[in-house]
């Protein structure tokens, strides 16, 4: 079974924000919410400026899942962390727990009223029927069910952002590192966020939420 992950190669990201735009357009993400964003450090410092595209990393032991008071999160067999917006109460605990700032909320109305949480779904929708209008309106496109990968990764012009089965994208990244090393360049072998999201190498694979363990779930 595939274990879906993202890798952002900081040696390749050129801060074009194409991934951000693609995500917003593909999923029709509302104004004020960015499921993906590009963060740049050492801006303007020659040779030290690095950019990284950040979104939900679909962690192995997701802190958002752990802190949610209404237990609206679940993990699919592909390792994608998703949530049910019909259950979410918009409390914001997940946004405080997430080390990547993935959970987003629309600020609407007076007194700081927040919407239900919105985040990257790895382009795999939510609990509604795959590819349905209801699913699109709540969560955006379900590209995985269409046999595709997340658009942010697929359209990345420099292929800095790659997404998909962890073994395959790791091998792609390893080859790049090897080529850079052989060319006498900086290898850039540290993958941003992986140890935070998935633990040290050799960590056990995450367990998907079994349907029969979900209270009230329909089989």
């Amino acid at each position: 079974m595939a274990r879906m992950k993202f890798i952002c190669d900081t040696e390749r990201c050129i801060e074009c924000n194409g991934c951000v735009t693609a995500c917003k357009n593909e999923n029709e993400v509302p104004w004020g919410v960015n499921r993906r964003r590009v963060v740049t450090v050492n801006d303007g410092v020659i040779g030290q400026e690095k950019s990284v595209s950040v979104a939900c990393m679909h962690c192995s032991d997701a802190p958002c899942m752990a802190v949610c008071p209404v237990d609206c999160f679940y993990r699919t067999d592909e390792g994608v962390v998703l949530h049910d917006k019909d259950i979410c109460i918009g409390c914001g605990y997940c946004s405080f727990a997430c080390p990547f700032g993935a959970p987003q909320f629309l600020s609407k109305g007076a007194f700081g009223v927040r919407s239900k949480m919105d985040k990257c779904t790895f382009c795999s929708g939510g609990p509604e029927a795959n590819g349905s209008v209801a699913e699109f309106e709540k969560y955006g496109r379900n590209r995985l069910a269409e046999g595709k990968l997340p658009l942010c990764a697929e359209m990345c012009s420099t292929k800095a952002l790659i997404g998909g089965d962890s073994e395959i994208i790791s091998s792609i990244y390893s080859k790049r590192v090897a080529v850079r090393e052989s060319n006498g360049k900086y290898a850039g072998s540290n993958i941003f966020g992986w140890s935070t999201a998935y633990g040290p190498s050799g960590s056990p694979a995450p367990t998907p939420t079994p349907a029969d363990k979900i209270p009230g779930a329909k089989s």
Partner: protein
């Protein structure tokens, strides 16, 4: 006897007030988490890629892995 009526009144009032805090079954059922449909079952729209059979996990995995490899320019560009 007078006391009993008072107690009964309080109990009835409490019952009415507490009923507002209860959750009707239909709302509770709606709030229960629903199991998701696996992506290999395919999507009900016209954007499906070709080359795999919806419902066949093996063919979906193969198609996704092939697409995944397209992200490697060392394989894609020769």
């Amino acid at each position: 006897m007078k006391l009993n009526f008072k107690t009964l009144g309080v109990c009835l009032a409490a019952g009415v007030l507490l009923a507002a805090c209860s959750e009707p079954p239909e709302i509770a059922a709606k709030a229960a988490k629903r199991p998701d449909v696996a992506p290999y079952m395919g999507a009900d729209n016209s954007f499906m890629t070709k080359g795999w059979t919806p419902g066949n996990q093996g063919s979906w995995t193969e198609a996704i892995n092939k697409r995944n490899q397209n992200q490697s320019e060392y394989l894609r560009v020769k």
